[in-house]
Amino acid sequence: MTERITKSMAKNIYYGGGMFALLIFIALTFDTVQQIPKRSNQGQMTESVVAGKALWEKNNCVGCHTIVGEGAYFAPELMNVFQRRGAGDEASFKAYMQGWMAAQPLDIPDRRKMPQFHLTPAEVDNLSDFLIWTSKINANEWPPTIEG
């Protein structure tokens, strides 16, 4: 099969095809960047949400958890933890989060452990706000179930 393809043909596919793909990719990137604010409700991204994201990074939460399906697979998905543990109610989710973060690490032998991060109640609220905001992203119907 490759006998009929010459070196210069292959070279042209490389440059031509590569350029073509790159141009489409760049064009779609511009369009996606336009659409993301709406799909992610950027208007509701309060200071607390932004602070929560910074705390999420500072404590490397993604080193154990997935969020929107990306990260590590050691611990549960957290995009929909707001629905799972707070039943979609902000006040009860925030209360749950305060209790949860304070209780770590759980004293159950051999269970996978989550560290104690020594966060202030205000910081835990920031994280809750970040997770609530994240749960509302339009991710094309993902995750498929409440368990994530």
Binding site: T2, I5, K7, A10, K11, I13, Y14, G17, G18, A21, L22, I24, F25, L28, D31, T32, Q35, I36, P37, R39, S40, Q42, K53, E57, K58, N59, N60, C61, V62, G63, C64, I67, V68, G69, E70, A72, Y73, F74, A75, P76, E77, P105, D110, R111, R112, K113, P115, F130, T134, I137, N138, A139, N140, E141, W142, P143, P144, T145, I146, E147
Partner: protein, 455 residues
């Protein structure tokens, strides 16, 4: 060895192998903590083990690429390296930065590490694979830029070949896409979108060019097939890489807040991504069949063929498994992703480094015809141990992924994440067993370096 400056490759190769031992050791530790949560906790929590594991992986691949480049560029360009001194200097800078970063992960709590490394000035930390402190990231940029300058200057002053052109294109792409590691928008969706510009466009575009160039170089050397023929194959492979891999980035934009059209574009483009890997298999086996010479370094050709096959399995087959949007809906972010991540990284990027080391290291040690038969035999047994180990580990993770998907995402009787994970302890035990086999294989590989040459 034709040019004395090729010698600078040696410390790069040795250091890459040492880091690989560290990577796999931490993999095994994680494998244990996966089942026994109290193991090493709270001394080293899982996220720290994981960071060490994946960051060692990335850094060792960079060391391997650099070693491979410094070895092959003088031979391709038919002149000494532009500045061997610079190459040695950057080796030490990079090695020191790498070691300091790993020690930082292990001995300083991550939150404290962010504070003492100026993360508040330009927040870049705490994202998967890109956890490095700012000074390390800047260091990587400086090292990579000096490396590219060194290589490019050598080529400009010497002979230009398709291999050098492809290699340098890949390296420049690597550097350019790493710059997205410095861009961390507040909006999580935007952040993820550009995060993939580094991660996906490395492993499924620019690194594939580098891999193709290294593979082509080794095949020329050990089969003696003429360059025209090799060049055509190389162009064909990277053409398919570019056509599929760039828009293939869309397979990460299905379910993270990006628009719907990526469901189609990502699925279609990335469905073609196995093709370049398949071509690499044809390439390696056709060149081996058409060999013009009988090279005494047989094991190097074995590695070259093995790389093509394992990369095709890991990236091509395991990648295709979850790359169509309707399937990815259920597999996204499960143990199946981890299965694919392991076999693809190993098959493509660890094995291409083994291939190059296996070819070049004997020459750098003055054994122009390769290692003695006894050493090659030992190396061959390590080849099988590591390959079987990685394949077994991948199959175990695949089984774990399937159970996880059935438990959490299918039917009406759903299990919780932790409950489901606890129910598959035995699968994780099997994974650990195969992981240990990989480790033993690596030790065997190291041992093959110390087999005495027959006089």
């Amino acid at each position: 060895m034709k040019y004395s400056s090729q010698m600078v490759a040696k410390p790069y190769f040795i250091f890459a192998l040492i880091l690989l031992a560290g990577e796999i050791l931490f993999g095994v530790l994680m494998g244990i903590q996966y089942m026994y949560g109290d193991f090493l906790f709270p001394l080293i929590p899982f996220n720290v083990l994981r960071m060490v594991h994946t960051n060692l992986l990335i850094v060792l691949i960079l060391f391997g690429f650099m070693g491979a480049t410094y070895y092959l560029i003088p031979e391709e360009a038919e002149r000494e390296l532009w500045s061997p001194k610079l190459a040695i200097l950057t080796f030490w800078v990079f090695a020191a930065a790498g070691v300091a970063t790993i020690l930082g992960y292990l001995f300083v709590p991550y939150a404290t590490l962010t504070e003492v490394t100026f993360n508040n000035l330009l927040p870049t930390m705490g994202r998967e694979f890109l956890e490095q402190p700012l000074p390390t990231k800047v260091g990587i940029v400086l090292v990579v830029v000096s490396y590219i300058v060194n290589v490019t200057m050598t080529v400009l002053k010497g002979r230009r070949t398709v291999i050098t052109t492809v290699l340098i294109t890949g390296l420049i792409g690597l550097a350019v896409f790493f710059l997205f590691a410095f861009y961390v928008p507040d909006n999580l969706v935007m952040d993820k979108f550009f995060w993939w510009f580094t991660v996906h466009l490395w492993v499924e575009a620019t690194w594939e060019l580098i891999m193709g160039a290294i593979l082509a170089f080794v095949l020329i050397k050990v089969t003696g097939v003429d360059r025209e023929h090799i060049d055509k194959w190389l162009y064909l492979i990277i053409a398919m890489t570019m056509v599929s891999g760039i828009l293939g980035t869309g397979h990460h934009f299905f379910y993270m807040g990006a628009p719907e059209y990526w469901l189609w574009i990502g699925s279609i483009a990335s469905a073609v991504e196995p093709l370049p890997f398949f071509l690499m298999v044809l390439f390696a086996f056709t060149m081996a069949r058409d060999s013009k010479i009988k090279h005494d370094n047989k094991i190097a050709l074995t590695w070259a063929k093995g790389t093509a096959v394992m990369a095709f399995l890991g990236a091509g087959v395991w990648g295709f498994m979850h790359t169509l949007a309707p399937v990815n809906m259920f597999t996204h972010g499960t143990q199946l992703t981890a299965a694919h991540g392991h076999l693809s990284f190993y098959g493509a990027y660890i094995m291409i480094i083994f291939t190059m080391i296996s070819y070049a290291m004997p020459i750098l040690r003055g054994r122009l015809h390769g290692n003695c038969a006894k050493a090659q035999k030992l190396e061959l047994s390590s080849f099988w141990m590591m390959n079987i180990g990685m394949l077994g580990l991948t199959l175990a993770l695949t089984a774990a992924g399937i159970v996880q998907i059935m438990d959490l995402r299918m039917g009406t009787e759903l299990k919780g994440f932790m409950e489901s994970q606890e129910s598959i302890q035995s699968i994780f035990m099997i994974r650990l067993g195969f992981g240990l086999l990989v480790f033993v294989g690596l030790i065997t590989y190291f041992a093959s370096f110390f087999v005495k040459e027959e006089a």
